[in-house]
């Protein structure tokens, strides 16, 4: 049976409230940071860092959570991933030697920088986001729909309209 978390007691540092919070959300935090970790031991350390961040300085970060704006699971997932990335950056993970990178990855492109200007609001933020997910992150329509919480048909429609705008704009500029 789900146990409600007493946020007020948690922020005061109540031991029982903290233990209940950890038991309930440690799995969520683990699932959030695991994709960012290189090994399972890294994932465990990252989980611990998340909980350290939540309780340090008198539970300062936890006190910023506002239940009226979003659910605790949603907020906690975002905090966990952000903390994990910050931690990994601080550890300065080894980088790939330049010689190991294929030359095609190093290509900077021969085209000179464009002097064209984009009109304000050519693409809506939603259109930009859909195109980013499609072309930069190679996501499928169904994945994008799930990620944005919209219908797959809406994704296709958004993509289509955005492309029409881009073709029209660049065709006009080139004339």
């Amino acid at each position: 049976m789900a146990q409600a978390i007493d946020l007020a007691a948690l922020s005061r540092g109540d031991k029982a409230a903290w233990d209940a919070f950890v038991r309930r959300y440690a799995g969520l935090v683990t699932a959030a940071v695991r994709p960012l970790a290189r090994e399972s031991s890294d994932a465990e350390d990252l989980v611990q860092e998340v909980f350290v961040r939540l309780c340090k300085d008198g539970f300062r970060l936890l006190k910023t959570y506002d239940p009226g704006r979003a659910g605790l699971s949603t907020w906690l997932t975002i905090v966990a991933r952000s903390t994990a990335r910050d931690s990994l950056r601080r550890r300065q993970l080894p980088v790939t030697p330049l010689d190991a990178v294929p030359e095609t990855f190093l290509a900077t492109g021969g085209a000179p920088p464009e002097k064209l200007r984009l009109p304000e609001g050519l693409l809506s933020p939603r259109q930009k986001l859909v195109l980013t997910m499609l072309y930069d992150r190679d996501m499928e329509v169904a994945e994008i729909a799930a990620a944005l919480g919209i219908d797959p048909q809406t994704v296709r429609s958004t993509h289509h309209k955005a492309m029409l705008k881009l073709r029209s704009h660049f065709a006009t500029e080139e004339q």
Binding site: V22, L28, A70, L129, T132, Y135, Q153, M163
Partner: protein, 169 residues
Amino acid sequence: MAEPTNSPDEGALWQRWRSLRPAPAGERPDAMTLAAYVEGRLGLAEAETVEEWLSADPDLAADAASARYAALGPLPEAADGIIARASALVLPKDERVVALHASARRPSWHRMVRWSAMAASILVASAIGFALGNDTYVSLAGSHPAAFGQELLDPSSGLFTAFDEDANI
């Protein structure tokens, strides 16, 4: 509506646009704002601002997607070791270390005893010192303590008597 083909032509068009667009305005959305966006609780203007950032920041977009997936299913379980380690971060209140203050209060009788002992030590030392000095005086003076006292006060009468010209040296 046709499925996006992700054709090289469309991809190139997108990349061309990307190279020209400016950076998002305003501050990067914090965790609370991003969480509210994921749950559809932001107004249109605020949501669009967040989406500007999501299209420019892959990490932020991945966080939003991850949070959306997490909210859909039941909460997963964690290993006992992970739970124990995190639980240990907060101790019960009676086990927490409390810094001792240097000026901790002591009972008033304790201070009184301490000062009394010090005063008594001074008195005893003074008395012993006086007694020793007095004994020394008496033993040196012999049967004529008054004459010895005169010698001490006016040593010249005794000193030059010993070194008089008529005296046999």
